[in-house]
Symmetry: C2
C-alpha cells in the first residue's frame, strides 16, 4: 500500500516525514475526487426544491447512509456538524440543556472539547465527576458504575485517547450506563474508521466523529444520536438536520467524509496491521534511548499511536529539533500545542510535571514506510542527547 | 464577464438556468484553485508546531487579513466559523451568555438563524423586541431608538434581507446603538461582498458572513467581533480562534473564503452593475404578467435580488414547474423551502397569507446573461397562467 516514504510540502528538497496523523491527515486523492463535482457543478443548496438542490440532497443522504453504516447506526441517527469539537459540544450541552439540570460523568483524560464543555456546565450548576485513570490511561467501568447518582444524566468517556492512544473499555461502560438509564456519549474522533465500532453492541447513545482524522477534509464531522434521544440544538436557524443542527449543509465536505469513512472501513485491517508493524519498530527503536518509556498500554492502544517520554527534556524543543530534520511530530494534542501547561493526560496517568513536559507523540499514517521509521529512530537519539546536555532539568 | 448563459448539471442536454444565488453559489474556478493545495499537500493542522502546521497557520492568518480588509476590520477581530448560521448564533447567544440577562432588539424579517436564536433566549428569560417593518421591509431607525431600554444588551438587524433584498439603514441603526451603549450585530450573509461595508463608519460591533453566498465553499463563515467585546464561546475545547470558537480550523475552506471575498471586493461594482441590469429586465418582463407586483424597494435592494408575487398561485408549484423548464429559483429562503408556513418576511411587509404563498425569488449571479433573463421572462407567463387556471385560490 504505501509507496511514498517522504512528503515534501516545501519543495526545497528536504526530506519531510509526517508522523502527526492524530493531529490531521492529508485528504486522500480518492476523497478529493469524490468531493470535486460538489464544488462547482453539483453545487446546489440541499434545502432547495429545484434540481440543483435535489442533486445535493441526494449526495447528502447517500453520505448519511455510508457513514451510519460504518458504526451500525441508522442514517437518520447521524447529524452532520463542522467537526469533532462541535459534535462533542452538541452531545454534551445538547443533553444538558434538554435535561435542564443533573450530573455528568467524564474522565480526566478527555479531549478539551469534552472537558471544557463539562467545566462550563459545572459553572452553570451541573454536577460533574471527573474520573481518574490508571497508569495506562484506562477508565475503570466499576468507577463509572460507582459514580452514577440518581440525577446522573450523561456519561461521556472517549473511545481512544488522542495523546497516548489508550482504547477505553467503552462496551462495558456502555452496558453499565444502559443498565442504569444513563445516556452514554463517546468521543470517537481518534478511533472512528481505525477500530471497529458498533453502536448497538457497545450500547453507545451518542458518538462524535471527524473527517479530517481519516484522510477526509477539515471542517466536517458527525454526531451519532440514537433515535429517540432529545438534544437541544446548539445552532438554531433553518432547522436543518431534523432540527438538531441548523446551517446550510457542507455537501462537498460531507461527500468527502463519506468517501473517507468508506475507505477507512474497507481498509481497516490492512491499515491497522501496517501501522502496528511500524509502531512496533518505532517503540523498539526509541526505547533504546536511555531513560525512555512508553506512555499508555503496549497493546490496547490505537494502531497508529506511539507516545514516549524522554526524561529530562522539554517536549517542544524536541518537536522543533525534529522539525528541523524534516520530521513532523507532536508533544500531544495539537490543540494545546501552544500551551505551557503539561499535558493533562500525562499528569492523569501519574507522570511528574517535568516528565509530562518531555513527551513525544508519533502518530502513523497509511503512507508511512519502514524507511520513515528508520529515519526517525536514527534521528531522535542524537536530538535527545543534545537536548539533555542543555536541559534545565538536567539528567534525571 | 458572463460567457456562459446556461449551466448543465444533469448532462441530459436540457438548458439549465440557475437563478438561486441567494441560496448558494457555485465555487468559482479561481477559488477552488486557491483551495486546492490545502487538501492534500499543505494539509497541516494550524495548531501544530512543525512545518506542516506553520504552513497552514500562515494561510489561515493571511486569509484573516484579506477577509477583515473587505469590511475595514482588523485581522484579529475575525472569528472563523462553519457558516452564517453559526456566526449569528455565536454573536447573539455569545453576547447573551456573556451578559447573563437583558433585552435584545431584532426585527420580524431576520433570517431564522437570528429569529430562532432570539426565541430560544426569550424562553430562557431574555426580553426580545421584534420590530415591525414597513411595506418595503425597512426597519425604522427611530423604532430601534424607541425600543432601547435600560437593560438592552444587543440589537441585531440584518444588512440585507435574504428574501426581498431590502437593504436596511444599518449605518443609522449602528449610530443609534453606539450612542446608547448598545452592542450592534448585523447578519450580512447576503450583502457581504455585494454591497460596500465598513464596520467602523457603520458602527457595527459584530457582523456575520458566509463564504458560499459569494462563490466560496459551503461550511465556512466568519463573525467579525469588534476588539474588546466579550462573547461566550459556543464551541468550547482547544481554544482556537483566541478562545472564541474551538475546533480545528478548516484551512482549505478559509483560504477559499478569502479568495472569494477578495474577488467579490475587486469586482463588486462590475458584478453589481451587471446584475442590476439583468434585474431591471427581469422585473420589467415579469410585471407584464397581470396581477403581479414587486416585493421590496425598487432601488434600495440587493443588486441581484428580484422578488415578485403573482396573486392567486402557489409558489412551490411555480418553482416545480419552472424547474421542469430548467430554471432554478426559490419561493424565498431555501432554509424553509419545505415548510408550509407562508414567508414570515412577506407577512411582515403586510401581504395576505394567500399572497405570501405566491412569491418567486430570482437571485442573479455573475454568470447569468441577458439570454437567461429572456428565457425566464418568456417561460414564466405561461406557467403562471396555467397555474392560475388550476389554483384553489382562483383569480384574485
Amino acid at each position: 500500500m504505501p509507496q511514498r516514504g517522504a512528503r515534501s510540502a516545501s519543495g526545497d528538497g528536504m526530506r519531510r516525514i509526517y508522523m502527526d496523523h492524530a493531529a490531521t491527515t492529508p485528504v486522500d486523492a480518492e476523497v478529493l475526487k469524490a468531493m470535486r463535482p460538489y464544488f462547482s457543478e453539483k453545487f446546489g443548496n440541499a434545502s432547495s426544491l429545484h434540481g440543483f438542490g435535489q442533486e445535493a440532497r441526494k449526495a447528502l443522504e447517500n453520505s448519511r447512509i455510508t457513514i451510519s453504516g460504518v458504526i451500525g447506526a441508522q442514517p437518520d441517527e447521524m447529524v452532520f456538524t463542522s467537526g469533532g469539537t462541535e459534535s462533542d459540544n452538541l452531545a454534551i450541552r445538547g443533553v444538558a440543556m434538554s435535561k435542564g439540570r443533573g450530573h455528568i460523568i467524564t474522565s480526566r483524560i478527555e479531549h478539551h472539547a469534552v472537558l471544557h464543555t463539562c467545566q462550563q456546565l459545572e459553572k452553570a450548576g451541573f454536577g460533574v465527576t471527573y474520573l481518574p485513570v490508571d497508569r495506562n490511561g484506562f477508565v475503570s467501568p466499576l468507577d463509572v458504575e460507582n459514580a452514577i447518582r440518581k440525577d446522573t444524566i450523561l456519561a461521556t468517556i472517549m473511545h481512544a485517547n488522542n495523546e497516548i492512544g489508550t482504547i477505553e473499555p467503552i462496551g462495558e461502560i456502555g452496558r453499565i450506563c444502559r443498565d442504569n438509564g444513563v445516556l452514554f456519549h463517546t468521543d470517537a474522533v481518534q478511533s472512528f474508521g481505525k477500530v471497529p465500532i458498533d453502536v448497538n453492541k457497545m450500547n453507545i447513545d451518542m458518538l462524535s466523529a471527524s473527517a479530517h482524522k481519516l484522510y477526509g477534509p477539515k471542517g466536517v464531522g458527525a454526531l451519532y444520536v440514537r433515535s429517540g434521544i432529545d438534544i437541544v440544538p446548539q445552532n438554531t436557524g433553518g432547522g436543518h438536520e431534523k432540527g438538531k443542527r441548523s446551517g446550510t449543509e457542507n455537501v462537498a465536505g460531507i461527500v468527502g467524509f463519506a468517501k473517507a469513512a468508506l475507505l477507512a472501513a474497507e481498509h481497516m485491517e490492512k491499515r491497522a496491521s501496517h501501522e502496528k508493524r511500524l509502531r512496533g519498530m518505532l517503540i523498539k527503536g526509541l526505547k533504546e534511548i536511555p531513560n525512555t518509556w512508553l506512555n499508555g498500554h503496549p497493546e490496547k492502544r490505537l494502531p497508529n499511536n506511539v507516545n514516549v517520554c524522554f526524561s529530562g527534556i522539554e517536549g517542544e524543543s524536541l518537536i522543533i529539533h525534529m522539525d528541523m530534520k524534516g520530521i513532523a511530530a507532536s508533544t500531544g494534542s495539537a490543540c494545546s500545542s501552544k500551551s505551557l501547561e503539561p499535558s493533562h493526560v500525562l499528569v492523569a496517568i501519574g507522570l511528574k510535571h517535568k516528565d509530562a513536559h518531555g513527551s513525544l507523540r508519533l502518530s502513523l499514517g497509511k503512507e508511512n514506510t519502514m524507511d520513515d521509521v528508520r529515519y526517525v529512530t536514527e534521528a531522535v537519539p542524537g536530538i535527545v542527547e543534545n537536548l539533555r546536555k542543555i536541559s534545565p532539568f538536567g539528567r534525571s
